[in-house]
């Protein structure tokens, strides 16, 4: 199994990596700095010894006023090497451990910078050699202030000790850095464990949420964590939304179950009632007809529930469109006989070119639900006005009836599923309590809006607004 990604491990690894890099850098810089510092000190020392050697150059007491080494140079460290030359190119003296050859870079006259020390290997050991030009004045008490004899001194000393010191320092830095690395790792492990505790707590609290218990209350530790507070807030919001829709869904399922069970209860009781005692053929026929009607009503409920579910799943109406004007007229014609029976006049005010993004089938369901409602709730001699018109970039459908109206207290619920404001009325007219819920679902699916206003005794107006597909022609 693949190891799970761990923020803690990742953070520790990142920090340790950065620290390792800086340790390498520090160690490297330390090396250069230490080498530079030690070498400078070393050169100063070399220079000092070279000048001490210059002090050993004395008047040779001959006619030519030559100079010579007086022997005090023997006091210099035995591992050091040196050569002393005069201006005529004679070697005045050298250490025993250095051969008599003049160092090449001097003899070649390459104008080597005398300040730059040269590296040299003598007897397998690394040396650093400097060149010092000096002047010895022979017989300074004579006229003209004596004779000036220029002397060139090459002085070198083994660098092993210097390097040892440099490496010692580097080693110290490296070891300290590595030690720090270990300490940092341990500290981070502990601190991150503590620091990330609210995250674990949040996870535990979130894990406690289920369809049965939606309660999600982040602890103060979580809320007080700047990075976690937005997450906890988002979780809370999402959960609240989920709970709402879950509750809605559950209520729908409960309501649907209630409706279906009631439907089954009606059919079952009708049949049982029929079987309760011997009846005449006419009674049986009437009873069976009632059973038939009961079944049809149940069928209608099931069909509407399925329609509602299909609309909400939104699989079939994608990208379809229809002309609201044509659909309204078509539904108006279909309802003519029903309206005539109820002595209600349907008046349609509409013009063509009202394309909206709802399929013809669903648009028909929408219009017929609204118009049938309006007709059913109208008294005799009333008029149902259906108006379709353009309002800016929307198409508006208004269904206005002069019916008994709906009380203000139930108005907000009329779009709820299975809601029947007045059961005796809607049962009589065969309402399922799903008509307006279906209207709302269709409209919302298409990104439109639906509103209802009503006044008891005056009538009800339902306004559906759908986005117009075509721009208004002839408008500038």
């Amino acid at each position: 199994m693949r190891r799970a990604y761990s923020i803690k491990r990742r953070l520790i690894a990142s920090v340790l990596l950065v620290e390792l890099l800086s340790a390498v850098c520090v160690t490297g810089l330390a090396f250069f700095y230490e080498r530079h510092a030690h070498m400078r000190a070393f050169e100063v020392m070399l220079r000092g010894r070279a000048y001490a050697l210059l002090g050993a150059v004395q008047d040779a007491e001959d006619e030519a006023d030559n100079v010579m080494l007086d022997g005090t140079e023997k006091a210099l460290p035995s591992r050091d090497i040196y050569q002393v030359w005069d201006e005529k190119g004679r070697m005045l003296g050298r250490s025993a451990n250095w051969d008599g050859r003049e160092p090449g870079w001097l003899a070649g006259g390459r104008a080597a910078d005398e300040r730059q020390p040269a590296r040299l290997r003598v007897d397998g050991e690394g040396y650093r050699v400097i060149r010092v030009e000096g002047v010895r004045i022979v017989d300074p008490g004579d006229k003209n202030g004596g004779v000036r004899r220029a002397v060139t001194i090459f002085y070198g000393s083994p660098t092993r000790a210097v390097w040892r010191a440099v490496w010692g320092a580097v080693e110290f830095y490296a070891e300290t850095s590595l030690g720090l690395l270990v300490v940092t790792g341990l500290m981070m492990y502990w601190l991150l464990g503590r620091g990330l505790a609210p995250l674990g707590e949040l996870a535990r609290q979130a894990a406690g949420v289920s369809a049965q218990s939606w309660e999600f209350v982040p602890s103060d530790a979580v809320r007080g964590t700047m990075e976690l507070a937005p997450l906890a807030g988002a979780l809370e919001m999402v959960l609240a939304g989920l709970e709402r829709s879950f509750e809605q869904q559950r209520r729908f399922v409960g309501d649907a179950a209630h409706e279906l069970k009631t439907g089954v209860a009606v059919v079952k009781s009708s049949l049982q009632l029929l079987a309760m005692k011997q009846r005449t053929a006419a009674e049986y026929a009437a009873g069976l007809e009632r059973c038939q009607l009961d079944c049809e009503r149940m069928e209608e409920i099931v069909a509407k529930m399925l329609l509602l579910a299909r609309i909400e799943a939104a699989v079939e109406d994608e990208g379809k469109s229809a002309d609201l004007d044509a659909v309204v007229r078509q539904v108006g014609e279909a309802l003519e006989s029903m309206a005539a029976m109820a002595r209600v006049r349907i008046e349609i005010v509409s013009s063509g070119g009202m394309e909206v993004g709802v399929g013809a089938e669903q648009l028909e369901v929408l219009c017929s639900n609204l118009m049938v409602n309006a007709v059913q709730h109208s008294g005799e001699g009333a008029t149902v006005r259906v108006v379709v018109e353009r309002v800016l970039d929307a198409v508006e459908l208004r269904v206005v009836d002069e019916g008994e109206g709906i009380e203000a207290e139930v108005l907000p619920y009329v779009f709820d599923r299975f809601y029947r404001s007045d059961p005796s009325r809607s049962r009589r007219t065969g309402g399922t309590g799903l008509g307006l819920a279906i209207v709302k679902a269709i409209v919302e699916r298409a990104g439109g809006s639906v509103a209802i206003e009503s006044e008891v005794g005056r009538g009800t107006t339902v306004v559906v607004r759908l986005k117009a597909l075509r721009a208004v022609e002839g408008f500038v």
Binding site: G254, A257, H258, K261, T262, V264, A265, V266, V267, K268, S269, S270, Q272, L273, M276, K277, R290, D294, R297, R420, D422, P423, S424, R427, R428
Partner: protein, 233 residues
């Protein structure tokens, strides 16, 4: 017996009412919402209330609470589509006596209705005996000293009511209220005629009057035979 049926589903109410009328011969009043149901129940003339839970205006729980709060002890049989335990517990705790989940069996509904009415009147057995009169409410048969007495439906209903309340004085008004629903035009002389027929049939081969008439007060069913006749006339 008279039953109040509070059910908003019209067809179901029709069927249940028809079954209660045709089966045990009860008088049934229907209410389509909780408010009407509560108002009717307040008349206190029912021997049983059959109550749907999901009702408009005032739901079944509300009706139940109001009925019980008014001190009404009428048995209540709840009809519900919700078979959830919590809902059933809440319902029984609110004062319901029994429940049936939809879709229910009409036979079961009638049996439970009978049982609840019996219990409401302090009777446990479906076969009731008062003195020498024996009534089987399941078969709807009546025996007087072992002899079958043929009764009309109305006579049976009157006797059934009196059998459930032996020794108690039952006024004509009470009989009217408990035996007829609102759809009947009722007059107290109808009761008098029925009681008179009933008494004639019951006492045909007995010299002891089974149903006493207390002038101005009503009727009383007495354990007519032997020691049971201590009241006398």
């Amino acid at each position: 017996m008279r039953v109040l049926l509070v059910e908003d589903e019209e067809r179901l109410a029709e069927n249940v009412a028809a079954a209660l009328r045709e089966g045990p011969g009860y008088a049934v009043d229907c209410a389509a919402d909780g408010r009407v149901g509560t108002e009717l129940a307040a008349q206190r003339c029912y021997d049983l209330i059959v109550l749907d839970l999901m009702l408009p205006l005032l739901d079944g729980h509300g009706v139940l609470r109001k009925v019980r709060a008014s001190g009404d002890r009428t048995p209540v049989l709840v009809l519900t589509a919700k078979a959830e335990r919590a809902s059933i517990i809440a319902m029984l705790n609110a004062g319901a006596d029994d429940y049936l989940t939809k879709p229910f069996d009409l036979g079961e509904l009638i049996a439970r209705a009978k049982a609840l009415i019996r219990r409401g009147k302090g009777v446990a057995d479906a076969a009731i005996r008062v003195g020498s009169i024996a009534m089987n409410t399941l078969e709807q048969t009546v025996l007087r000293s072992g002899r079958v007495v043929e009764l009309s439906p109305m006579e049976y209903r009157i006797l059934e009511y009196l059998m459930h309340r032996p020794r108690a004085v039952v006024s004509k008004r009470e009989l009217l209220e408990h035996l007829y629903d609102y759809n009947w035009e009722h007059h107290s002389n109808v009761i008098e005629a029925h009681v008179s027929n009933l008494r004639r049939k019951l006492d045909a081969e007995s010299d002891v009057a089974s149903i006493q008439t207390l002038r101005g007060r009503g009727y009383r069913l007495m354990p007519a035979d032997g020691a049971g006749c201590e009241v006398g006339l």
